[in-house]
């Protein structure tokens, strides 16, 4: 045990005040993958402990929202739904939007909500927002099954044709981009909220407002020839929601260029997010 005394000793870990912003340590995140999965399990199981219906509760919210949208946007406002059955139209929009919204809001309070754990023990902080994205994925899965069920129901009893083809392969890509944007924006906000809580106020209603700037309750085609249509088109989430419907129903306007735009936006947000996150994670305990 008493060999080398030279100055170039090997150290496993060096704790320093501030490291470069590119010091992301993703290898370490991988080493803690077990923890990430356990957090996913915790989020998922703890939420509905002591309830009779359990995960079925995940279905209540999209069903009720769909009924509401059907009433407000279809019956009252009379907005056309791109030749898609209105119920399926709203439910598909809500399903994918819910995923984005919960990724964003749940990752945006990472630091504040987990301060008690972060203050006592070290693990790569990125684990928590990642686990949020994953556990929401499980929720998305359940809600997607509901949507599929409705689609099958309509195909069987209402003679609405069901398109099952190659376009479905697009869905995982869309979900991943959705997750990336939600995660990226979420960790940027969580990094900012450690010191200035102002942003937490913003997030809750910001997400809600953003939904109306995204074609969730109306199709993009509805805005055609309207002056603010380009504003909605610039929203990087619009191609994702539209693309989701295109994949499922093969209607609506969707092209790959807009998808690439969303993808690039996701990359920028993710890179910028991880950089600011890894800078804040070192000292946030002092200011949170």
């Amino acid at each position: 045990m008493s060999q080398q005394t030279d100055t170039t000793e090997h150290w496993d870990l060096e704790i320093k005040p501030q490291s470069s912003v590119f010091d992301l340590n993703l290898k370490e995140v991988w080493r803690y993958k077990d923890l990430m999965l356990l957090f996913v399990k915790r989020d998922f199981t703890a939420q509905f402990k002591q309830t009779v219906l359990g995960p079925v509760w995940h279905l209540v919210q999209p069903v009720l929202t769909t009924i509401m949208f059907l009433f407000v946007f279809h019956t009252v406002a009379g907005i056309d739904t791109d030749e898609i059955e209105p119920i399926l139209f709203y439910m598909s929009g809500i399903t994918i939007w819910n995923y984005f919204a919960s990724c964003l809001t749940n990752t945006s309070n990472t630091f504040v909500a987990n301060a008690s754990i972060f203050g006592k023990v070290y693990f790569p902080r990125l684990i928590l927002p990642l686990s949020v994205v994953l556990s929401n994925m499980a929720r998305l899965g359940i809600q997607f099954l509901l949507l599929l069920g409705c689609m099958v129901f309509y195909a069987l009893f209402k003679n609405t044709p069901m398109h099952f083809g190659m376009s479905w392969l697009l869905i995982p890509v869309l979900v991943l981009i959705m997750a990336g944007i939600g995660l990226g924006l979420g960790i940027i906000i969580s990094s900012l909220t450690t010191k200035y809580r102002d942003f937490t106020v913003l997030v809750t209603f910001g997400v809600q407002l953003l939904m109306y700037a995204t074609p969730v309750a109306y199709p993009l085609s509805f805005l055609k020839s309207k002056s603010y249509a380009s504003f909605i088109e610039w929203n990087p989430l619009s191609p994702l929601v539209e693309g989701f419907r295109y994949a499922l129903f093969q209607t609506g306007n969707f092209n790959f260029n807009t998808l690439i735009y969303s993808f690039v936006f996701m990359l920028i947000v993710l890179v910028f997010g991880t950089m600011i996150f890894s800078k804040v994670e070192k000292t946030f305990m002092d200011t949170v």
Partner: protein, 425 residues
């Protein structure tokens, strides 16, 4: 033995007060300095960390230029008063916060136990929590699986393992949490003394486990504690911190002695100003009160205690008494005993000195506090002051028992034993 932790010039600055709009201007200023390649303007200011004095600066150095090394297999005890910077140091070592300046180099895996049961979720069962907590502390799923039975039997909660932990008694909860922690296998273990919770038997188990970890398995332990007996017993090295600075490092015995000597100010009082400002009132002014060992130079169970009070009496011609009330740190009164200074209404104005002694093998180890009451005719209080002097009686090995025993007193009782064999009639 090779060096496993190397701490170099670690400092940590904190900003006092609230985070609000005022902080933005500082942040902007700091950023502006950095853009121009200048030094952070707020690092220059900042004061040493003395909680009791009010400083002018908004910035305070919780740690200042800490340097030390730890070798493999050493158990380093970090001692110091509340607010000396021990916990900040542990936080930096366990990477929950980064230092302001300096660096720490570490070889091997670090596990920190600043708290037991970090991340326990009340709704989850004991089993689920063991896995979650283990993973938070850095164990892989395989590792936890391998040790699961051992952890559960260590904690003694076999029967409740599938019940949500919110239904656990607090003792079961802590035992399960510590069980997970105790089965970590890091090269370096960082332990805060808050860990020593639970009943006496469990505490013993915890300390025993720590001893095992270092002695048998050759791991390195950093241990923060106020319990001098535990430090002496467990550690091989000691580090004394004061006001965020490393005041002393050496063997555990030297460190404990250094700490206690630095602490002496607490167990004596000497007034040197003008008589009218000394603690007291128009009847009595206290000038001096000392607590010292009767023999040797360390207050311990076998040293006995000598206390000496010096006060100025303004009330002539009464029956004066000075009463000493001693209580333990958990407010149990050990005795309430008056020294009758005059009996025939003949007290004198002027300086009185009262000496008292407690024999060896009377007080148990622990913290004790003197209250003083001055009375007339043993009925009317002339002046009373609570928590005047505090002192600590050290634990020591008596016979073969090195543990701190319960109780306020620990008399040397002479037993006579007789034995008769029981026979069937």
């Amino acid at each position: 033995m090779s060096t496993i932790i190397k701490v170099e010039d670690i400092s940590k600055q904190y900003r006092l007060g609230q985070v609000s709009t005022g902080t933005i201007s500082h942040d902007v200023n700091r950023w502006w300095h950095r853009v121009r390649g200048k030094e952070d303007p707020y690092l220059k200011i900042g004061e040493t960390n003395d909680r009791t004095s009010t400083g002018n600066s908004d910035y305070v150095w919780a740690l200042k230029d800490i340097n030390f090394e730890v070798k493999q297999g050493e158990v380093l005890g970090i001692i110091g008063r509340n607010g000396a910077g021990k916990s900040t140091l542990l936080k930096i070592l366990s990477r929950t916060t980064a230092p302001t300046t300096g660096s720490i180099k570490i070889k091997g895996r670090v596990a920190s136990l600043l708290e037991v049961g970090t991340g326990f979720h009340p709704e989850l069962s004991g089993r689920e929590n063991v896995f979650l907590n283990g993973a938070i502390l850095g164990m892989s799923k395989q590792e936890i699986k391998r040790k699961f039975d051992e952890i559960v039997s260590f904690a003694g909660v076999e029967r409740y393992i599938d019940t949500p932990v919110k239904r656990y008694s607090s003792g079961m909860y802590v035992r399960l949490a510590f069980g997970v922690a105790a089965h970590l296998e890091p090269e370096i273990l960082i332990v805060d003394e808050v860990l020593a919770v639970g009943d006496a038997e469990f505490q013993k188990k915890c300390l025993g486990k720590m001893k095992d970890v270092s002695e048998r398995e050759g791991r390195t332990v950093l241990f923060v504690s106020h319990n001098m007996a535990a430090v002496k017993q467990l550690c091989t090295k000691g580090l004394v911190m004061q006001h965020g600075m490393n005041r002393f490092s050496g063997t555990q015995y030297e460190a404990v002695n250094f700490y206690q000597n630095a602490h002496q100010t607490n167990s004596s009082f000497l007034y040197e100003g003008h008589l009218t400002d000394a603690p007291g009132n128009e009847n009595i002014r206290i000038l001096r009160f000392d607590v010292n060992p009767l023999k040797g130079d360390c207050l311990s169970i076998s040293s006995g205690v000598a206390f000496e009070l010096e006060f100025y009496n303004h009330k002539g011609g009464i029956n004066l008494d000075a009463t000493f009330e001693l209580k333990s740190s958990d407010e149990i009164v050990v005795f309430h005993h008056g020294a009758i200074l005059s009996q025939q209404n003949d007290s004198k104005r002027g300086l009185y000195k009262v000496k008292g002694t407690l024999p060896p093998h009377f007080l148990n180890a622990g913290i004790f506090i003197f209250n003083l009451i001055f009375g007339e005719n043993q009925r009317i209080a002339l002046f009373a002051i609570n928590d005047f002097i505090q002192f600590e009686v050290m634990n020591e090995t008596i016979g073969s028992n090195a543990n701190q025993l319960p109780g306020v007193v620990r008399p040397a009782i002479q037993y006579t034993v007789s034995h008769a064999s029981y026979e069937q009639q």
